[in-house]
Subunit: 488 residues, 2 copies
């Protein structure tokens, strides 16, 4: 089974697609650009959702649901937003089908044309701020801290499972505040929440920073981002949190009476992560044997395999271990399939990224031990049966930790400081990764560098240190280094 | 606040809308027929989802996600299905907007017309069975037990919050089986799961039965339904589970090799409940003071009100009770608003349907007691502080039980056996409710009765007793009584 995966070193893109398909995470559908998220992939998303939802609620947010459709005119109300989002989108023009008068099947009923076209939401700022106008009258209605779990559609020409699809699942937070400072603090808070989720749950280290004006969300005054590094040296924008200023409040006339009884426009944020994170998860940890999952997000934590097949003595121990592991809150499978050999099963479970595998054979039982294999390193050890539950619990923690450390080490090895444009190009062409370089701060230079190298500025790090230098392209003065990379 | 609700007796429809709006459950949006589900309404939906999801998983189902869009041609593949679902729907015809060459705003780009129109899913049988063709090859791939949580769109001309909206949220289960018997058993199992959820969690008694041919889901061989009775004597179809036979397997060519190595079409079911349940919840239990919620689904179980306002001695007791109740797994609010009087707060909390209210005043503290008010009956008692946590836990159980019993009693009082068409009409016009009557079994008679009385056959009960009789309209022989009612 593993043999069917294209090695990473040979063709990284194909390796990625092979894993997504063979680990049964997702597949393309009959509808261009839309994917089917299969049960195993969806189970990972459910685990992500559950934890993110807890974190959102712990920080005071509530969930709500807004319409799928946005009237076309709403998109035009915020000048920059329309440029960014009103282009490639799904447009609903009619509300009825009829039997084809010329034959079989159904056709669009020309009499059922909508007065105003509806856009399938590419993001919901406009419809939500149009709603907030009625919800917000006074400072007592603020802050308004709302999140939505939803599907959105952006008509993409080139799609890739999870990373870029026409329809995807996400959450979008939309908050309203009385002051600029409070809104900025909210946007930063959610950047921290995302970073914590990425690092502690996905075991995926991320850089925290702000986007340049050119890379900002359409309609934002500041975009806070978390940026991860994939194993091919390309960056992945993993989550963004936007300080929207008063742009949407002005576009949708959302004012409030402040404590001094004066009317003022409301300050806004929005923030989102999507099923794209699953793509990031795959590309951060997996290997040529298949998926590797951090235990905290793995739908199945432990699989038990009877060697070479089930028999009463083995079943008894397997069931006892299962029960004890389940009592500790772990999802466990016992693979009793009689038609597959252990080696084939091992390959299957490795493909699915199950963090820990327990092998139990008759000889093991005689020695009162089971074989414990960890997916991240492939290492195998024999552990006395009495201690195996505690051993597995500790091992899962260790795998979670090891995956993060391994990814962090990879990132450190693939983060390079350069001072000349030649070095810059060479690093991008050879090892890739994050490149820390001086930039003169202009969009013109940023775009020119992108044109010449395909690298973009991923972020200006939150903790950037002042360090006078010269722009790698123009030689103009620069106050600090920014982070460049080629990106997904 | 409560005064703003139209009394049930005066105008039931307006009473319902008043409660949905004033309890902040939902509101109409700027998009025709689409609602905004507000945080409090969404919190109820989250509680429903969580429990239903547990029940689906306990019965072996897994979640997945399929595309929002369905190619137009898919809808035509199952003959009856297209009649039922390909009429009023949202049709995507274009994938791009452009700046209006004649002025401001954006217009549909005429060059971005889709080759084939896409329909926003009104239900997903077609796209899912098109996918299952690749997932199912042999009996070893069966049964396939999948559920999806999603939004769907049916273009409704007359909408009502939760009960009938163009977009709504739901779950749709889609299962595939090797045999007819197994598929029927699955469809019946899900009817039982829905009935159990309605009765044990929503405290809403339901009749279990099958639909007549005329009322069946478009494409089903049998539709199992649960039917609830609202306080105005009208029925609400609360959930349906369909045995689809081999209709979709044949339409989408889904065959499998059975254990005898013979090729055969797969047997199917589908089943769903939606945000409509929230409408049913409101209409089953609420009263002229606002929402009444069964404790198991209430987002906030207990509210504590300081009388007349917070002060250190009261705060101390309130915080202790809060902590103790929270440790028992209950969501509790302490209403410390200084600007509202207790009476106003009481009305607000009643409007929101919080099951239990604790009032704490200085005189109560002197007597080492708090006042406990239950939302369902309005009854108030004084309870010693030491015993209040256990008392509240028992009271919540009692409220849950009482709401079910009260609704059951209402249904029993509004279930009438009639033997003549005059009686039938009189009962419908006076007390409404479920009417048990003989029917000759023909669609013609069923439609004629509907035309004359607006009553439809809600179901033929699962446990129907054989009882020879004569059809109330035609006098033709009938083997058992069926359940008629006017319905939402």
């Amino acid at each position: 089974m593993a043999k069917e995966i294209t090695p990473r070193s040979e063709d990284y893109s194909q390796w990625y697609i092979d894993i997504v398909k063979k680990a049964q995470l997702a597949e393309n559908s009959a509808v261009r650009g839309c994917m089917v998220i299969k049960p195993y992939g969806y189970a990972i998303w459910e685990n992500m959702q559950a934890q993110l939802d807890r974190m959102f609620k712990e920080t005071g947010h509530k969930n709500a649901y807004f319409p799928l459709f946005i009237p076309k005119s709403f998109l035009s109300k915020e000048a920059e937003h329309v440029e960014g989002f009103a282009k490639e989108c799904a447009v609903v023009t009619h509300h009825r089908l009829m039997n084809d008068p010329n034959g079989k099947g159904v056709v669009v009923d020309p009499d059922a044309r909508l007065e105003e076209e509806l856009i399938v939401r590419p993001t919901s700022e406009t419809i939500i701020w149009n709603t907030y106008r009625d919800w917000i009258q006074s400072y007592r209605d603020l802050p308004l801290l709302i999140n939505q779990w939803a599907n959105v559609v952006r008509w993409e020409m080139r799609t890739r499972l999870f990373l870029r699809t026409a329809e995807f699942l996400w959450q979008e937070g939309h908050t309203a505040h009385a002051t600029r400072e409070e809104a900025i603090e909210e946007a930063r808070l959610m950047q921290r929440v995302y970073a914590q989720f990425a690092e502690e749950w996905m075991a995926m280290p991320v850089l925290r920073g702000v986007k340049t004006a050119n890379e900002r969300f359409a309609g934002a005054e500041e975009t806070y981002t978390i940026e991860a590094l994939m194993q091919d040296g390309k960056a992945l924008q993993a989550g963004t949190s936007h300080f929207l200023g008063q742009n949407f409040a002005k576009a949708f006339d959302v004012k409030f009476l402040n404590e001094q009884n004066q009317e003022a426009y409301v300050w806004a944020t929005s923030w989102g992560v999507s099923t794209r994170l699953i793509g990031g998860l795959v590309m951060t940890h997996s290997d040529d044997n298949g998926l590797v999952l951090p235990p905290k997000l793995a739908p199945v934590k432990v699989v038990i395999v009877p060697i070479p097949k089930p028999r009463p003595e083995i079943d008894e121990v397997a069931h006892r271990l299962m029960r004890e592991l389940q009592e500790r809150g772990l999802t466990v499978e016992y693979d009793t399939d009689m038609k597959k050999r252990p080696g084939f099963k091992f390959a299957e479970h490795e493909m699915r990224g199950i963090p820990v595998r327990l092998g139990i054979g008759m000889r093991d039982l005689e020695k009162h031990q089971v074989e414990v294999a960890r997916r991240d390193t492939g290492e195998k050890t024999f552990v006395p049966i009495e201690g195996v539950v505690d051993h597995v619990i500790a091992l899962l923690d260790d795998i979670q930790h090891n995956l993060f450390q391994r990814a962090l080490k990879f990132r450190e090895e693939h983060t390079t400081r350069v001072d000349t444009f030649d070095e810059f190009k060479e690093v991008l062409e050879t090892k890739g990764g994050f490149v820390l370089a001086h930039w003169d701060g202009t969009t013109e230079t940023e775009l020119r560098i992108k044109e010449l190298t395909k690298a973009t500025i991923r972020c200006i790090p939150n903790d950037v240190e002042e360090e006078p230098g010269k722009c790698i392209l123009t030689g103009k003065p620069s106050k600090y280094r920014v982070v460049f990379a080629k990106a997904y």
